[in-house]
């Protein structure tokens, strides 16, 4: 019993421990992240979404508009539109359309946050700081709730991973790989607390 209590306390203690607590905090220049910011002039992706055991595929078009906002339209291969979102440069978000089956606050909020992590539009945040260990650099952007982390190699030459996290644990892991003309060829978004993955593969047109 005592042992169980100890384990429970240890578990509670560990879960309350701040994420990356052991890392060195320093004031490295974060401008090196700019080169990883994707410039979606106009890109078409084959999208695969797995959610709660169900699989959905379609086409996602991401386009930078003349007013610097980014528009994202997801449709089926046969042309049926699932959603149409706008992310403004200032961090605002607008839903132009969404099908009834997806029109739920938590769904929209999750998609918004996931894509914001990938679009990297919040890099102007002044409260940013950097954590380092021997091999990697964790560039943190504190949000009202939680953090966005961009993890690079020590020299900030390669973007290894992106994370959305609470104080104590990682909520979402994402990757962007094989940039061509400023646009990643592969994008992957994976949720840690529930079964929800998004895979995007660029289609050459």
């Amino acid at each position: 019993m005592r042992y169980l209590l100890f384990i429970s306390c240890l578990f509670i203690f560990l879960s309350c421990t701040s994420l990356y607590k052991g890392l060195q905090k320093n004031s490295t220049d974060i401008s090196c992240l700019q080169k990883f910011v994707p410039s979606f002039s106009s890109a078409l992706y084959n999208a695969h979404i797995d959610v709660a055991g169900k699989h959905l595929s379609g086409l996602l078009i991401i386009k930078k508009m003349p007013d610097s906002s980014t528009r994202m339209v997801f449709s089926s291969e046969t042309g049926f539109t699932f959603f149409d979102f706008e992310f403004s440069k200032e961090g605002n978000f607008k839903v132009y359309s969404i099908i009834k089956q997806m029109d739920k606050k938590p769904v929209i909020k999750t998609l918004r946050k996931d894509f914001e992590l990938v679009l990297m539009q919040h890099l102007q945040n002044k409260k940013t700081y950097t954590l380092t260990d021997k091999t990697q650099m964790y560039i943190a952007f504190p949000q009202t709730k939680g953090y966005y982390y961009y993890i690079t190699d020590f020299l900030c030459e390669q973007l290894i991973e992106m994370e959305r996290a609470s104080k104590s644990k990682v909520v979402v892991e994402a990757i962007m790989q094989n940039y061509k003309n400023g646009m990643p060829d592969t994008i992957g978004i994976s949720h840690k607390n529930f079964n929800f993955d998004i895979g995007l593969k660029r289609i050459e047109r």
Partner: protein, 211 residues
């Protein structure tokens, strides 16, 4: 006075309708069209065709163009295979739908998914010529020298939420479908053009097999 006003309104409405589709005028007697259309579709046992699909995103000034092959065989067998610029296969075999999207294979029973059933029924109804008796839509018919234009307006609530109209362009020569234009409420639309059509050529059942 009231009669004059009514006539004036009627003529405005007629002009508005005519202006809706350039070059087309409304067909007053569409019982003959309906008869001919169903007669021709009764004679059509199979269709083999290439297709070009164009999704227009009006606000984004973008087009997504895809190409593929289409097969239809009576009754209710459809194979639609997108080959460019992505791979996507959809087979409708009676009440079952098989989908292969490059990563996964999926079998869906349309009887368990009403919206899917209705959307797929549109394609089947359009090529099978039974669109005019589908109670999910009301319809109007227009014509020009070479084609008919059938405007389907959804009456079913769940379809109303997605489509403004679905327009089918039918060849006057053989009453076969040339084009399907699905117009969304947002102003975006998807046009499927059927080209290199072959009617009534033998098609193996194996093409529609769902394993």
């Amino acid at each position: 006075m009231r009669k004059q006003f009514f006539l004036l309104m009627l003529s405005i409405c007629c002009v508005a309708v005519q202006a809706q589709y350039t070059g087309y005028s409304p067909l007053t007697d569409f019982s003959k069209f309906k008869e001919q259309f169903s007669l021709a579709s009764q004679k059509t046992t199979s269709i083999k065709s290439d297709f070009v699909q164009e999704k227009n995103l009006s606000m984004l000034s973008e087009k997504i163009i895809s190409k593929g092959k289409f097969w239809f065989k009576k009754d209710n067998l459809v194979r639609m295979e997108y080959v460019q610029p992505f791979q996507y296969l959809m087979i409708i075999n009676k009440n079952n739908v098989f989908i292969k999207d490059g990563q996964k294979e999926n079998k869906v029973s349309t009887t368990s998914n009403k919206l899917f059933q209705q959307i797929n029924k549109i394609t089947v109804d359009c090529v099978q010529g039974t669109a005019l008796s589908n109670t999910d839509f009301s319809y109007k018919v227009f014509d020009n020298e070479k084609t008919f234009l059938v405007e389907l307006t959804p009456t079913a609530k769940n379809l109303k939420a997605y489509f403004k109209t679905i327009n089918i362009v039918v060849d006057k020569k053989d009453y076969s479908v040339i084009k399907i234009d699905m117009r969304e409420l947002s102003g975006d639309n998807t046009v499927i053009n059927f080209i290199n059509k072959e009617l009534n050529t033998p098609i193996a059942d194996a093409l529609f097999a769902i394993h």
